[in-house]
């Protein structure tokens, strides 16, 4: 995996909550046995009209977002199917960072991203940033208010900066294990195989009947 340290690029908005992975990449594209080629199909049913033409009403199709590489959206992004194709599609369509708000606390907590999706992002060098709803609201306003608005993500220092008329910086939390992996571009399997002896030892003690 390619390491992620900092990234500066244009922000684009997708003002919907609960965007599911069926929307990010519809099933007809899951028939591929390759890991590449999914980019043009990201958000397919929204991006194109039925005859295959580009849908002018879909906000990400606006010319001002053509060169975007950061996406700001609403909560529970990437829910539903576990398909990693959703992350491949976004990454191959040029998205390096996705920003979504968490809401509430305790029993009312709603996350910015669904679990499996977030985890899949971490395996593909895509950074998922969760901010408060108020902060995300500020970002939406800034994106709508200024064409070509750029932002920088500094993962090491956990800072997101909007380069608008006046610069605004947000601090974000990041799971230290994921952060370290992204910063160094580590391969999970290689890392886990360092513990092969532990795995072998575990297997000698674990129930034997599972291996029938």
């Amino acid at each position: 995996m390619e390491a992620f340290t900092t990234h500066r690029g244009i922000l684009a908005p997708l003002d919907r909550a609960n965007v599911d992975t069926d929307q990010i990449i519809p099933k007809q594209f899951l028939k591929s046995i390759a890991r590449t080629g999914f980019g043009p199909s990201a958000f397919f049913d929204w991006r194109y009209v039925l005859n295959g033409d580009v849908n002018p009403d879909f906000e990400l199709n606006a010319p001002r977002y053509e060169k975007r590489s950061l996406l700001v959206t609403r909560n529970n992004f990437g829910c539903g199917s576990s398909r990693e194709h959703a992350v491949w599609a976004l990454a191959q369509d040029g998205y390096k960072v996705i920003i979504a708000p968490y809401r509430g606390e305790g029993d009312d907590y709603i996350p910015g991203f669904a679990d499996i999706f977030k985890n899949n992002c971490s395996k593909n060098g895509v950074v998922t940033i969760e901010l408060s709803e108020a902060e995300v609201e500020t970002i939406f306003k800034a994106v709508y208010g200024e064409e070509g608005l750029e932002a920088t993500v500094d993962l090491e220092n956990q800072k997101l900066t909007l380069h608008g008329e006046s610069e605004v910086t947000f601090d974000f939390e990041y799971d230290p294990s994921v952060k370290n992996k992204l910063l160094k571009g580590l391969d999970d399997i290689e890392e886990s195989l360092l513990y092969l002896d532990d795995i072998k030892e575990f297997e000698t003690k674990h129930a034997t009947w599972i291996h029938q």
């Binding site: 609960n18 046995i33 795995i199 599972i210």
Partner: protein
């Protein structure tokens, strides 16, 4: 310290704690299907790694396969290539495969329990979010992405952060004609599709204990629709009877089995075990559920009107409006007033023999409404065989249904079974996302009994008071 069912399974599977704060967890069972595995096998090939435990890896073909009589010869060349890739990958790596034409082929979450691959106390994963189904046995089962599929193939482990626990207790008894599908839809309606993110459910209480294994699987199947990592139900005599019932080839035998049963009996949560969160639902008050929107959390009692823009907790007015527009519905409308085009009985949520029996009971001696296309797709070839032995297929075809071979079919419409734009479908599956059953298609999630009755009436009815169209 008192432990939950989840803690007990987790603790038994920690290979070691890792310096980065995650745990290396041993995986006992790995299920594989054609859609989410090819890139994982390719990854192994590129790095020269091997499948560590082919004997713990089980695969079938379900998502892509046609379920009509053309099933043995897939016409779509891309689908065909994917199915062939799985055949090659299994052969090269010595992995069990229940492919097209095999007596045991079926939806991965139907055949796991059927073959005794799923038994209590294990860890089980699959590159599929509905892996949560297997939690009905008190086995920690969850969906993973393709990178993790590759990780499990190579190491038989996963790096995991310990999730939280969320107890959902269903008190009281269900009313007649209300089923486990309604129990889980009700729950998602309450907590929303992200309400349980980062948690593992434990479903318990009188109404859960009273359920059969198949009905329990329906609840756990949709745990992911509440955002949960997994759903668990403590193993009890019902579980053990199911596991021992028929010839399930992968269930341990003899002395090993006796030892295993002793272990299984120790799994239920200790009486004073603490959960991070608890919710109590009175099962006796649950009505048949129908989803009206484009997210499983957009669901109502069948006798309630379609909600207004500000009446849906957890969804903004804008999102509700988008859903109503997509579904072609208006706030205040009765669901019985909208005409259906298709009824789909199938999917890993509701395609087991008991589901088919329930649907058949409603359809027996009746005919579907003329304008309805009715599709009945058993979850596995074994379910199909059993249904035919009981004569259910005759009831379905006499009612005007198409009786199919096993597969995912119109649950996600990756095979030729799909809705046309704006077609409205009553479906026993688990997801009503936009386009899930075909681009532009409109899905309403219901139980098998509600689906069958809707096929006869041509629109939704309240199964509790419906007189069968007479």
């Amino acid at each position: 310290m008192a432990k939950t069912l989840f803690d007990k399974i987790w603790d038994r599977h920690v290979v070691r704690e890792l310096p980065d704060g995650t745990s290396l967890i041993y995986i006992d069972r790995h299920l594989v299907h054609e859609v989410t595995s090819p890139q994982a096998f390719e990854g192994l090939r590129l790095t020269g790694r091997k499948v560590r435990h082919p004997e713990l890896t089980f695969s079938t073909m379900d998502h892509n396969v046609p379920t009509d009589d053309t099933r043995l010869t897939i016409k779509d060349p891309i689908s065909k290539a994917q199915v062939e890739a799985l055949e090659t990958n299994c052969k090269e790596n010595g992995i069990h495969l229940y492919g097209i034409g095999d007596d045991h082929q079926g939806i991965v979450h139907v055949i796991g329990p059927e073959m005794g691959i799923t038994v209590p106390g294990l860890t089980l994963v699959c590159g599929d979010s509905h892996t949560s189904t297997h939690g009905a046995f008190g086995t920690l089962a969850f969906g993973i992405g393709t990178s993790e599929v590759e990780h499990v193939l190579a190491t038989q482990t996963l790096r995991q952060k310990k999730p939280k626990t969320f107890k959902v207790e269903y008190t009281g008894k269900l009313s007649p004609h209300v089923h486990s599908k309604d129990m889980v839809l009700k729950l998602i309606g309450i907590i929303g599709t992200a309400g349980a993110t980062g948690s593992v459910f434990e479903f318990c209480g009188e109404a859960v204990e009273a359920l059969s294994m198949e009905a329990r699987m329906t609840i756990c199947n949709m745990a992911i629709e509440g955002g949960a990592k997994a759903g668990l139900i403590a193993p009890d005599q019902t579980t053990i009877d199911y596991v021992l019932a028929e010839d399930r080839p992968f269930v341990p035998k003899g002395e090993e089995l006796e030892k295993a049963i002793e272990e299984w009996k120790k799994l239920p949560s200790d009486p004073d075990a603490k959960f991070d969160r608890t919710l109590v639902i009175d099962a006796s008050k649950i009505a048949p559920q129908v989803s009206w929107g484009t997210s499983p959390g957009m669901v109502i009692d069948v006798d309630l009107p379609v909600p207004g823009l500000d009446d849906v907790p957890g969804y903004s007015a804008g999102d509700v409006q988008k859903a109503l527009d997509y579904m072609g519905l208006e706030a205040g409308q009765a669901l019985a007033d909208c005409k259906l085009d298709t009824v789909f009985i199938g999917s890993c949520t509701n395609s087991r023999i008991e589901d088919l029996r329930r649907a058949a009971k409603v359809l027996d001696g009746k005919k579907k409404a003329d304008h309805i296309k009715l599709l009945v797709v058993p979850g596995s070839q074994q379910v199909r065989k059993q249904a035919e032995a009981e004569g259910l297929d005759k009831i379905f075809t006499a009612a005007g249904a198409e009786w199919r071979w096993a597969g995912c079919s119109m649950c996600l419409a990756m095979n030729p079974d799909k809705l046309a734009p704006q077609e409205r479908c009553a479906s026993t599956s688990n997801r009503n996302f936009e386009g899930r059953q075909g681009a532009g298609g409109r899905t309403h999630l219901v139980s098998p009994e509600m689906a069958a009755a809707a096929a006869v009436a041509g629109h939704f009815v309240d199964i509790r008071t419906w007189n069968g169209g007479n």
